[in-house]
Point group: C2
Chain length 255, copies 2
DNA sequence: CATGCAATGATAAAATATTAACATTGAGGA
DNA sequence: TCCTCAATGTTAATATTTTATCATTGCATG
């Protein structure tokens, strides 16, 4: 029975998935075999592990196939980060914050001050994965059925939970902010959650990057007047007046 | 205005976090600069990005600091994988499977045949992150408050969801399998979910590695007779009789 | 206890990645 | 316009990783 190799591979895979990539040398040390043997192990574990410049990593960590950097997310990354940092700076000790799904909100999650006592309410896998890293925070996840393209979990039963949590600050994203069409987003299944959240708290923030002003997306979720405070990296000149006349305040984050 | 670099770094960070590491060449292509420039970008983005053998990755992906492979998880990884593979092999097209939390159950999730039509019910971030990768599967997550040490979400409201889902196969983990003390686990908050799941289906599997036999953990969740079928990598000789006389069947996975 | 064979280790050659040094470009100020 | 300097590109040297090859170990079988 010569399957020490299989066993080492299992051990390695498990270790790497838990603790992240390590150098070939470390792996060889830990498994008490030569680097060459570890190489051969990985070669045999086709598909699940790979080398990258002397490091071993689960292949899933190296899944980038797309070559184009042309998504909306990529192009506006620094704007989104700016808005996200601004939003996060508003959070205070003891807050219970709701963080919406989308491409801007992860920047809020990442920028939250680590040393505060917080409760974070979310419904997307993205956000959960970020905020779960901080063991000081209480994290509440609304469950449900998973929607892959937005990484969101949604179910009617989870909305009732919102009634039980006292949200002190809600950060909601929007795909479009328009004078007449109000706040819109791309996916209809998000609408119910966004509306429930807006109803559940008075401290509402709509977080967007500046490319969203004057856009309209298919799913409507609230009139502009209900946006509370708008947080963005910048506001186009013509929209400053629109927002002001809607009685909203605006906060800007430095790009 | 010389901060093209900062912008490129933002774009890169965002891209990498979304889509995983890429090769220096690809990055240079996409950003339309030379490899050398990308290198200098990363050098300036101290801390957040790094190179590994020609690939760029978020540093957080390379966080393995611990050198010892001594956790229970590491030591029994191949046993757990064996049990996990066996469990996964039972799953059939159209099944709605429940996958418990723990260190063994992720091996089930990873070994599920990718080409089946499945609904997967879970309540831990671990499992969700694995099964969400397959877009063919419907994933249902029980929400609630997050418990960091087990990566579990738990809330009374989510248990009611179990009544609405027809689970065809439930894979439950156990920290101890004992003749008299029955099935036990380490965390009391898991008990409610495990019990609800066992009630919700007749097709029950208790998945453990062979180190669990004759152990007793603090939280009791079911008598041995209710285990249904036990799946393990192996069963110690003295326990084969115990299990048989409890009227249970056993399935073994090749280590 | 000798034989065969998978598993492993060691070494050197080939391929790649990293670094350092110098050349070029282009924006902003005199 | 010319000058300066940061940003970038190019090239060659240096270091590292990968691959290929052969020698060694040690278990299993007859």
């Amino acid at each position: 029975m010569f399957d020490r190799r299989r066993k080492r591979v299992d051990t390695l895979v498990s270790f790497l998935e838990q603790r992240g990539p390590i150098h070939l040398k470390q792996a060889a040390d830990m498994l008490d075999v030569s680097e060459m043997t570890v190489r051969r192990d990985i070669a045999e574990a086709k598909g699940s592990l790979a080398f990258y410049g002397g490091y071993i990593a689960p292949v899933k960590d190296f899944g980038a196939t797309s070559y184009a950097m042309n998504t909306e997310e990529d192009r506006n990354a620094s704007k989104k980060a700016a808005a996200g940092r601004k939003a996060a700076s508003l959070v205070e000790n003891g807050d219970t914050v709701f963080i919406d799904c989308g491409t801007t909100t992860p920047h809020i999650a990442k920028a939250l001050p680590e040393d505060l006592e917080l409760t974070v309410v979310c419904y997307s896998l993205n956000i959960a994965n970020i905020v779960c890293k901080n063991e000081r925070w209480r994290v509440i996840m609304l469950g449900g059925i998973f929607y892959p393209n937005t990484q969101v979990f949604k179910g009617a039963y989870s909305l009732s939970l919102l009634g039980q949590v006292a949200i002190t600050k809600a950060f909601v994203s929007a795909g479009g902010v328009h004078e007449k069409r109000g706040l819109t987003c791309s996916n209809f299944y998000e609408v119910e959650v966004k509306q429930a959240v807006l109803r559940a708290t008075d401290s509402r923030f709509v977080v967007v990057d500046s490319s969203k002003f004057s856009l309209v997306k298919p799913a409507f979720f609230a009139p502009l007047a209900e946006a509370g405070t708008i947080i963005a990296d910048a506001v186009p000149e013509d929209y400053a007046r629109v927002i002001e006349s809607a009685g909203l305040s605006v906060l800007l984050g430095a790009d």
